[in-house]
């Protein structure tokens, strides 16, 4: 039992951080938010450096490392506010294909994404935005050897930019869950004007889309466990991203509190400000400890993985709530302006809270899992 990073992991974090600091300064994120277009970087680096391939088995051209390493890379992405297809491709699409797909499907759909050649997305939520219980807004029915998909999926991260979309649909057999890998061009997409413009979300519609059997991942009607497991990984990754973003908000606030002087003293010397900073710090520490536990639970396939994932998301959600509020407050009037970077981080963290189950939804699930 060991809750500390290995030397290799420390080195990994360091190298990811230095690449992202170089290639993904906040000014780049700001540019994206203001112009609305996504650059190739830092996704190209992610491909070249094998970040997307980290937790992918070697037989698929991956690096064959664990979920821990992937999680740490994600945390650094959150810290850098990195935009681009990394999160959806590496932590949503890939886990689903690896959990549900046959070896041939893994080769076909996962390998190119792991190599950084293609991108992926995962579509689960219904029109209400809820992801934790699959609704029937997207249905799949058998059509000869293939399937007909009809309906819609919503609030899909990178839904209108990813090359390949993994869709979760209701089927009329078995456990009711079918998973399908569909090229994005086959779908009608509608970009959402989102809170965080560097985190593109889209609604997807399939008007009676015919899909070949080779695109039905695994066995429709026996896919609920694979979906649940992939979502656990995705939830933990998103929590880690939120932790990274909140960590940066804490750092920005502490730096500001040290620099900014009022009444002839740095505001950080005032107890009221110090206590806010401490509360931000404890929130981040709690969220990170919980997310790291979940990261290990996924990596080691511990029986607590489902509970751990919900705990991580609940803790990260509570953390961003505290950290966002205090970060803007500590920055004062400046914090309320467009030109202050704090708003970018606040919006990213809040978006994370709302996706893949809110903190409150995960708490409800925890209460249920604990038999309350």
């Amino acid at each position: 039992m060991d809750f500390e990073l290995s030397e290799e992991q420390v080195e990994l974090c360091r190298s990811v951080r230095s690449v992202l600091e170089r290639e993904c300064p906040v000014s780049l994120v700001r540019q994206i938010v203001e112009a609305g277009s996504l650059p190739d970087q830092p996704w190209r680096s992610a491909g070249e450096l094998g970040w997307a391939a980290i937790a992918v088995p070697e037989r698929l051209g991956g690096l064959g490392q664990g979920f821990q390493e992937l999680g740490l890379v994600v945390e650094e992405h959150g810290r850098a506010l990195a935009p681009g297809p990394f999160l959806a491709s590496a932590t949503q699409f890939l886990p689903l294909v690896l959990e549900a797909g046959t070896p041939e499907q893994q080769e076909r759909f996962a390998a190119p994404v792991a190599a950084g050649e293609r991108t992926g997305a995962l579509a689960v939520a219904g029109p209400s935005g809820r992801s934790l219980a699959l609704d029937d807004s997207l249905r799949a029915r058998r059509d000869g050897a293939g399937w007909i998909l009809e309906g819609s999926r919503h609030f899909v991260l990178d839904g209108d930019t990813a090359d390949e979309v993994a869709l979760a649909a209701r089927v009329e057999e078995g456990d009711g869950v079918g998973l399908f890998a569909v090229p994005r061009e086959a779908l009608k997409t509608e970009r959402i004007v989102g809170l965080d413009a560097s985190r593109p979300l889209a609604h997807l519609t399939c008007p009676a889309l015919a899909v070949g059997p080779e695109r039905a991942l695994g066995s429709p009607g026996r896919s609920a466990p694979a979906l649940a497991r992939a979502l656990e990984a995705a939830v933990v990754a998103l929590s880690l991203e939120m932790v990274g973003t909140c960590q940066r908000l804490l750092e920005l606030s502490v730096e500001h509190a040290k620099q900014r002087e009022q009444f002839d003293a740095p505001i950080g010397s005032f107890q009221a400000v110090q206590h806010k900073c401490t509360d931000m710090f404890t929130a981040v520490e709690k969220a990170r400890a919980t997310a790291w536990f979940a990261m290990m639970a996924i990596g080691e396939d511990d029986p607590r993985r489902s509970l751990a994932a919900s705990m991580a998301k609940a803790s990260a959600g509570a953390c961003q709530r505290r950290v966002a509020k205090e970060a803007i407050q500590i920055h004062g009037g400046t914090g309320f302006t467009w030109e202050c970077d704090v708003q970018l981080f606040v919006k990213r963290a809040k978006t994370g809270e709302a996706l893949l189950g809110t903190a409150a939804e995960h708490r409800a699930r925890i209460a249920r899992q604990l038999g309350l």
């Binding site: 039992m1 060991d2 809750f3 500390e4 990073l5 290995s6 992991q9 821990q68 502490v254 509190a257 040290k258 003293a265 740095p266 950080g268 010397s269 005032f270 107890q271 400000v273 110090q274 206590h275 900073c277 401490t278 509360d279 710090f281 404890t282 520490e285 709690k286 969220a287 400890a289 919980t290 790291w292 536990f293 990261m295 290990m296 639970a297 080691e300 511990d302 705990m311 609940a314 803790s315 509570a318 409150a360 995960h362 708490r363 409800a364 925890i366 209460a367 604990l370 038999g371 309350l372």
Partner: protein
Amino acid sequence: MRLQYDAETEAFRRELRAWIAANQPDVEEMRRDPSTSSAHMPLWAREWQRRLFDAGWLVPGWPPALGGRNATSVQQLVYFEEMDQAVARRSYNPQGLSIILPSLRDFASPELQERFVLPTLRAEIAWCLGMSEPGAGSDLAGLSTRAELTDDHFVVRGQKVWTSGAHFSDWCFCFVRTDPKARKHRGISVLVIDMKTPGIRVRPMAELTDKDHADFNEVFFDDVRVPRENLVGELNDGWAMATGSLAHERGMLWIHLVTRLEGMLESVARVARRPDGRGGRIGDDARFRDGYAAFYVDVQALRFMGYRGFAKFARGQVSPEHSVLKLVGSELEQGLALLALEALGAEGLDVDFHSRSHYDEFAEYPWARQYLRSFGQTIAGGTSEIQRNIVAQRVLGLPRR
């Protein structure tokens, strides 16, 4: 990073569990003669600690000559986890074993160690810790109990307060001012004082929970003569022990806090199963469920933060986690007590059941009492405000005023 313990550690755990099962005190005896203070060691408690010591299970991280077994840090972690699951606590004079003893080992002269280390380990003497004073609470270094050195004796004059277990203690590990002219952190020394010395008066102070229950005391020193050889460490160098002694075993003390909180969570889950008077259960209420889950997550977060702090501690790094753990844990305890009490409504007002002893290991405390007790958690051992200052200044590097 790894969640699973290795096979060797699991073997250590099994050996300890088996030993505890075979050697723990008789539960009936514990009920008949409960410990009523942090320095009150009934016969069974002394015998239990002695058995632990003799078997090498009292301080497993220490060398065999001092009753240890050179346990590794992971083994010690497992040790504290297991001890917290046992019916009996490791010691019924926790400040003696966990704070004073390590300080004696680090700072006391060989003669003092000779006199006190083994008897303390064997539960032959009970200790209190003389720190806070009426004028020195959060500002501990402002203490003014004076010890004047005259030939071969110190003469001690002043007052301590919130001294846990003083009314049951044989000895006091006492912080005194020996140089009133020096800057306040510089003129402090530590004396071990025999509580039977003439001039010492102890007045127990009942807690707000119960007029008949007192663990802490006022201790008055009226020209108390203390032999010079009872000075611990160097003259005027006692402040290091105030910070050092509290840091002792902090690498592990959080385990007890987390275990207590997990026990509270289980109790609150029992509250959830009680009828809500509308044909359902208290636990059906969405707000209650949300609150419970939030506390559950935070308590687990505390455990994982403890593990992270421990990992640093085991690598010999300084870990700031302790202040954070104390701060978060005490506030969680208050929140959990409030959650249960408010969910129970008027039913929660009945405090007249189970044992009256605050140290009875078996009582399911009435929630109203837990609620009252929880107020002390954010005050004792450094208020939450002081903990927040410490984190802000020492961890985040914010400037002092």
